[in-house]
Assembly symmetry: C3
């Protein structure tokens, strides 16, 4: 039984199959693949797009989605195996996964890092425990990667740019008042490199490099799929010739859990904001972002409101790709 936890588990052809199916849904194809079936949506963190698109996508394919918020409307959950549960968690993932597998046909999880210890967070224990104990497929709604966003992003790129191979792709770090999750940034590298793009990661300095695991995967993908991967701290160099600019903020991994000094560093790089001047250096690039986005912090109003901003199209595509993912997992 296959889960959808990271695109690293799927090759380009398998992902393209899902993208093709997503395009069919977008063109009006219907499916009854979830008729009499149900989907559990577990949110440990807030959501607008993910929740709406999963709930609607399930309904459009004949099923029913249940939204649960562990720690709020549902019991707080423990994921450590063998734990003596004398802290706040009332229930273990083992039981939650097994019970939900009896009720539902798919289990979707949003579980952000705890932002205290990256070595701990990078193991992605919550969703991996669900995948281990569930007897139905598990879908990642964002943990330390965001593979649903990846497919929506790639669907948008293919719609706007055609074949992405060797197209110049820029992932730029931007400032944000809080140290955010690296999930979408990791995912950006994974998906762009898997489709053979020439990928550049722009970040202020070495502190803002992404985890080696994802950097290495990006290089491996580049080698396998005919693209390239490079890192730069130079804004002009990064934007020059770019055909798509993707923006995301994240906290510096070397300071993970030690966020006060990190903030001092981060505060020096507010000028990484995506603005019209930077976009003018590109090769008429598209701009996108996973949303939510703080306007005039990560990108200016002018960029967000420009015709080349495709963030809303990408958000719409969440619905179509997630229907494709659910359809593929339920029919395996």
């Amino acid at each position: 039984m296959k889960h959808y936890i990271t695109t690293a588990d799927w090759d380009q052809a398998a992902l393209q199959e899902m993208l093709d199916l997503a395009n069919e849904f977008k063109q009006g194809a219907t499916s009854e693949c979830l008729k009499n079936k149900s989907v559990a949506l577990l949110f440990f963190n807030p959501s607008l797009r993910t929740r709406t698109s999963f709930e609607l996508g399930t309904w459009q394919m004949g099923g029913h989605a249940i939204v649960l918020e562990p720690g709020k409307s549902a019991w707080p959950l423990e994921f450590e195996i063998g734990s003596q549960m004398d802290d706040v968690a009332e229930e273990h993932v083992i039981e939650a996964a097994k019970v939900l597998s009896r009720y539902c046909d798919l289990i979707c999880i949003r579980a952000f890092p705890k932002f205290v210890d990256w070595q701990e967070d990078k193991q992605d224990k919550m969703i991996n425990a669900f995948a281990k104990y569930a007897t139905v497929p598990v879908i990642n709604m964002e943990t330390i990667t965001h593979p649903c966003q990846e497919l929506a992003h790639m669907q948008t790129i293919q719609e706007k740019l055609g074949n992405p191979k060797k197209k110049k792709y820029l992932l730029t770090w931007t400032y944000h008042p809080k140290p955010l999750n690296t999930a979408v940034a990791n995912s950006s590298l994974l998906i762009a490199s898997k489709f053979g793009m020439d990928v550049t990661l722009l970040c202020p300095n070495e502190n803002y490099l992404l985890d080696d695991h994802y950097m290495t995967l990006a290089q491996k993908n580049a080698d396998q799929y005919g693209g390239s991967f490079q890192v730069t701290h130079n804004i002009e160099e990064a934007y020059a010739g770019a055909e798509i600019v993707y923006a995301k903020s994240w906290g510096a991994l070397p300071y993970f859990g030690n966020w006060e000094p990190e903030k001092t560093i981060r505060d020096q790089y507010k000028h990484f904001i995506v603005d019209e001047n930077k976009m003018a250096m590109t090769n008429n690039a598209l701009f996108s972002h996973c949303l939510p986005l703080r306007r005039n912090i990560k990108a200016t109003d002018a960029v967000m409101d420009a015709d080349y901003c495709v963030a809303i199209d990408e958000a719409e595509n969440r619905l179509h790709v997630q229907k494709a993912i659910m359809s593929q997992l339920i029919n395996q």
Copy 2:
């Protein structure tokens, strides 16, 4: 494309058309107007009736409702245009409205005032920003007016009193331990005057007058539709001859955001409670309230439990009128 943000945008005939449709729904008419369609319900504030009736009404007409709570289950939203978003809001209404318009066919908003600055709150910026950027119709689930409640109220009045024209309508302020929203009071004046009733506003003193904007609209409606509008601070005068009494509490606008001194004033008027003695002064009046209502604070148990209390009927009518509103907006 027409929104349903305030009844001031709709004339009596258009509202009567919605009331007639609501009556058909109440008599058992069915509609499939939301088949394969979905409705986003955004609640910035709590709800029992509104949420239940919108969610059910959508389902009864073949659609699916998504409930989102910005700031809780969904991201906190900014509505100021041009804002540099370095505060708590993670997302701007511009994106939220555009994205939800891609997923859903109607967007409904409950966004109460912030109770700090009335000049700010009275601009109703949140729902107006949604209306500006959404590409689907927007419905007001209570902001600084409550136009869904208005129609349910008028449906109830017509059911119980027949043609409302020249019927004596009393809106009475009542005490409440907290300074509440003027929305339902504003709405009470708007709808009663729009249907030509003889409207009296009873409040303790000038501090509790409603905003000029709504007082003026009430007078204009009275002039246009053949009713009248007067204000009094005299309880006996107000109740004498009334055929329907509608109760609501609100905080004094001149003290808006400065609620400590306001409370000292408000505490002197607990005797504005609707009780049997006051109801005995009327012309066998009906009593109603939008609910929720604090018993023995705003109205006594005896009044709430009396046969002349039609608040439960009015609450039921929320379902019927909202189906009518959604039906009209989706079919425009």
Copy 3:
């Protein structure tokens, strides 16, 4: 009109009828008994199984469930009759029950005790007020008993042990860091005794006896249905010969609301944990628990992961029995 508030209101034959219907649902029988009907689910407390299984069960029978959380997404509710509502509650159960009865065809309530005054809590005022003022049937989703859990438990027992009569049933108290509700323990006694089992209650000492009301009902059921009921504080004696072990933690009633000294007592009985050694004393007993369960506090990993643990089957059965309960109440 019959509610489902406690199994004490239903005799064995009536409960068996629901169990038989639940088995039919489990075998794949379908029902459209909730077509065009809706169910209000009011949660004053968290839930995973109850919410998921009620929402899905409603949907599977053609209906729509509305989830409301009074005090969070919905208004806080008052249940005292005649109260002058100047505290936090914005709405009285009288109105909530009447209004929801206009919208919905069943009302389900989860309202745990407040843990301050047992004499107050044991009156179960919230759900009783709903039952008094609602004009549709009311179902208990756990208050001071948990009658839905009872049926799921008995369905599981019958599946695994056949006719439960004279089978040896052990309800064992276990340690938990917090003083929990006695609801499931009360329910355990009620249902096991109603089906003629030989019921033993094991608890550390007299402080942990259950309320006399439920102990007396258990003895009456034993007399009527041919089983027996005994209490012991001796672990070896309790486990010897048991054919099913049910575990639950609860706070000591004599210390109700005075939880600090109670914790000192409770902390001495961590060895009541269900482990392999204790299970080895039984007659190859099944183990079950209502879930959520803190692993290695109430039962060890080895017990939870053993083949004789039927807690997941019991959780699944929640779905089937609740469909049976809703079906019976809606068709009465």
